[in-house]
Symmetry: C2
Subunit: 338 residues, 2 copies
């Protein structure tokens, strides 16, 4: 694993790919490698891109990647697909990218698909981003299909989040999903040559005006915190960021320049108001919370036998024991052994 890390740091792309696989699958030594790479992280600009299927997220990321490459920036792309065994993966979008970006050593693309827990996917995504960050990629796109919790998880990992809509997907004012506007730093109406694009843009702007500007902060503030929320609030005199709405037609490169400007404006906002600092602190706090929780559970599961759990579950099912009392019982057993 040590040799892999060294080769990766010497820009060996095969070593990078193998390290990412090791990290994604939590192979032995992956955690040590991540800890060793950690001091080299924190330099990349992480941009989350989310939206419903059919909004053209992949083409948009592709167009953005090409524009940033033309400006001399290196780009990593992490395409996360919390795949349904019914609906298949994000293979289509990857093919488009392969054609356009293949052979460019300044771009690295990684697809992550999963069955299994959302929590595990969020953890793996965070680790993959971190490796790409340590490898020196300057801009990292994290693309996910918009499905509730995964959007919130992006907001937890990204510094700038793009929410992509498209006309004609039934995304009228009523149908825009709860929770999606709160995480948007920049809203994109892609496929803007389709009928209804102006209506979609107008509806988004109207909803932004109706919404409370602190909604995003509220959303994140209640989740996985270790410190009282007040401790982490930014300076109250900082100006608020109002998400702009940008119309694009990704395959024609239309509107991509405006979108890049909007992204750069958000980046400047984060740096000038020191919000970037607060955001990073918040991400670290949430990560620490999740890691502590996972480790506490792992230790408990190691210390308490499967027979005890099976017996307790049986007694709850027969209504002998309330779940509340079961928790106290198991934890007092556990404490005796510690």
């Amino acid at each position: 694993m040590d040799a892999l890390v060294q080769a990766m740091l010497n820009s060996d792309r095969r070593a990078l790919a193998r390290l990412l696989t090791a990290v994604e699958n939590k192979r032995e030594g992956a955690d040590t490698a991540l800890a060793a790479l950690f001091p080299r992280t924190g330099r990349a600009w992480i941009i989350g891109v989310t939206g419903a299927p059919g909004t053209g997220k992949s083409s948009l990321v592709n167009a953005l990647a090409k524009t940033f490459r033309a400006a001399g920036k290196t780009v990593g792309i992490v395409a996360v697909d919390p795949t349904s065994p019914f609906s298949g993966g994000a293979i289509m979008g990857d093919r488009i990218r392969m054609r356009d970006l293949a052979g460019d050593r300044g771009v690295f693309i990684r697809s992550m698909a999963t069955r299994g827990s959302l929590g595990g996917l969020a953890r793996a995504t965070r680790d993959v981003i971190r490796v790409l960050d340590a490898a020196g990629f300057e801009i990292i796109f994290v693309e996910t299909v918009g499905a509730g919790q995964s959007e919130v998880d992006i907001a937890r990992a990204a510094q700038t989040t793009i929410v992509v809509e498209a006309p004609g997907l039934g995304d009228d004012v009523q149908a825009i999903k709860a929770g999606i506007l709160e995480i948007a730093d920049v809203l994109v109406v892609n496929k803007a040559d389709r009928p209804g694009a102006d209506n979609t843009a107008r509806a988004l702007k109207a909803m932004l005006e109706m919404g409370h500007p602190t909604a995003r902060a509220d959303l994140i503030a209640h989740h996985g915190r270790l410190l009282p929320v007040e401790n982490l609030a930014g300076p109250t005199d900082a100006p608020l960021w109002i998400p702009p709405v940008v119309s694009t037609i990704a395959p024609e490169n239309s509107g991509i320049g405006d979108l890049v400007s909007a992204l750069e404006a958000h980046r400047r906002y984060l740096i000038e108001t020191q919000a970037l600092d607060g955001l990073e602190r918040q991400h670290i706090e949430i990560e620490l919370h999740d890691r502590l929780q996972a480790e506490l559970m792992a230790r408990l599961l190691k210390a308490v036998s499967g027979e005890v759990f099976a017996d307790v579950i049986h007694r709850i099912q027969t209504r002998e024991l309330a779940p509340q009392s079961a928790v106290d019982m198991i934890l007092s057993l556990h404490n005796q052994s510690c």
Copy 2:
């Protein structure tokens, strides 16, 4: 709180409403009340109803409730809305219900809206269902807007899950959201008088045929378990349940009889194959996991001071300390104090 529980058990509806509020807001004594009511639970048939906004879930639940009432069953309705401050709540659906079901003492409707964490909402929903179960309601509908994690949380609480689709919402084969088919026991194409309804039904049936029948089991199996997955697998010779697709027009009561038959067939399947027993055991296991995790974290946060957390977060942010090492450090501090 004791008096409230007694009044509730004597069919006092105002006491029931107040107890639900206490439970939802985790007021003092709520946990004790829940523990006292626990032996009276486990009798209701819990039916989850989920789908995108605009599919007519509320009208459908309304029509189902009237049909079950006509057959002499008492009905509880829990309408859960993980509300966006932008999109507002499910007030519309409730108004329709109030008009149709008002004054019927065999029906109790409870709306739950929230800002804040999804985990907290899942906990509160479980507790509210339990109180209605203890109060003697025979069928409890749990209605949520379809948004990723909340659907999985329904699958965790319900015995039978209805997924509602409607034509014309852009829900073509590609757009049907990842993860939604896995949790469906019965699929409904509502608003079946709209153009495209036959296509929607056909697309759903085609996707069901393509999909692997154990997908649902996989989805749930990886989440929040205490025991090895094998321990909880049902008898392997039990026939699989193939979700039927039912077309309805809820306001005209069209197809509701077929839907009730499909629901009852699923209920019989659960009982005859003993899958109901395994499902309940699984729900209990997941609840116990979540409660243990929450309690372990609560104890840790009580034992370790905010200053320690703030200092550790700072040292991670400056890259002095890797998150992996921080966890070990904090837990060894914690263990010294136990």
